[in-house]
Symmetry: C2
Subunit: 252 residues, 2 copies
């Protein structure tokens, strides 16, 4: 590439963020979405508005350790310097972890073959360093019952009842939940979820179901029924956002 050419490259970026200070990923009128903040930085670097495209939005309060986005821009100084330039002007709650050149065919959302989320529940009163990143559940949870519920949910199902969809039932809501592990360590319960894709608010609904099972408010039979009917019930809570982390987006 000779100097002066405006050859545009597709850049694949991995970022981490603490969701607390922001209005979620997706661009907002107020400008305090993570997308807005990163786009403002990109605009500063390149002198014009360039859209960035994420693997998917995360709701207000949800965190990420490995959100992926891409954008197209001319840059002749290498990926590492672009990473540094992007990161230098961002709030400390957003970190650009890596930047790599990607083929033109790469798309953060459409090329993804899966996602991994983690959710943290804390039994009892978490300390001030833990509290911003867990669901302080406050009630005892039967761990074995949670694991039994996870076993029902794992696999290929229509997860319509475990989403917050309002639209017509045309959308394909079948997903392959490859992994749904519940592990415990002291007062901390961690849920790991991996699927080929997740519906809107699906992880938080799955965790809500696990917690309801742990409280003895929902049986494996009722969970099976939710999967079969696709009808959400008020029995199914949505776990709060601050315990949720987008860990990784998977690509071929």
């Amino acid at each position: 590439m000779s100097a002066g050419t405006e050859k545009t490259t597709r850049w694949k970026c991995v970022c981490a963020y603490d969701g607390a200070p922001f209005a979620g990923w997706q661009s907002q009128r107020g400008g305090d979405a993570i997308q807005d903040i990163i786009e403002a930085r990109v605009e500063t670097i390149f002198g014009r508005l360039i859209r960035i495209h994420a693997s998917g939005r995360t709701d207000a309060g949800v965190h990420a350790r490995g959100q992926v986005f891409h954008f197209d821009a001319p840059w002749r100084h290498g990926a590492e310097k672009l990473r540094a330039a992007l990161g230098a002007g961002l709030p400390r709650a957003i970190q650009i972890k890596s930047v790599r050149e990607a083929p033109e065919t790469f798309h953060s959302r459409f090329s993804a073959t899966g996602k991994i989320y983690a959710y943290h529940i804390h039994l009892g009163d978490p300390d001030p360093f833990t509290r911003p990143h867990v669901w302080a559940c406050g009630r005892p949870l039967d761990f074995a019952a949670m694991q039994a519920a996870a076993a029902v949910l794992r696999g290929r199902h229509d997860f319509r009842a475990f989403s917050a969809l309002n639209g017509p039932p045309r959308e394909n809501t079948v997903r392959e939940l490859r992994r749904l592990d519940v592990t415990r360590r002291g007062a901390r319960i961690r849920v790991n979820a991996e699927a080929d894709g997740f519906l809107y608010k699906m992880v938080r609904s799955l965790v809500g179901a696990l917690a309801a099972a742990g409280e003895g408010k929902m049986t494996p039979g009722q969970i099976r029924e939710l999967l079969a009917t696709g009808k959400r019930t008020p029995l199914l809570p949505t776990a709060p956002p601050q315990g949720l982390f987008l860990e990784r987006v998977l690509y071929p």
Copy 2:
């Protein structure tokens, strides 16, 4: 104790706080010190100003997992309900971990026989969840040199050079540094320090010396000289507050 009596009890409280949002422990004119916030809560409960007394102040930005304070107040509903009442009205960055009745002779500061601090250094670029609670040092540190420096500092010494004292040299600045361990795990270096007491900014100065040793800027011989002369040099940095945690106050 019969109903209606105003018998005053001494309450020993253990608290944790994230230091980031506050102007340190000690009461400030602006009222945004941790002491001010807890005293305002105590005043709400008891209807009058009651001073609280800590084991010692922590600077702005310094965290605590086990700061201890006491106060005298009449309360007839037991320690656990007092803990809940105190905690209920506090910002989430402050947690009352325990409240216990203490003998009148107990004093958070004067009864203490020692303190334990931890300090966290992060090599490289910490993620947004780690960054608020570490010193992101940014330079490689020679771990063996840090351990050698710690070995020189451990024990009974005059730590005047490792403090930020401005006053006359009358104050007793001899302390018994019972423990100064440097451990490493991945990108994280943790310093554990225990002493019968610490001078003002002593832990952060000790960590500054360890980091200077790790950077090859300070030899064990220079550290010995600082201990011997009691004269601070500009070579000795003060580590930033956000990596420091008051872990525990020790009582007989």
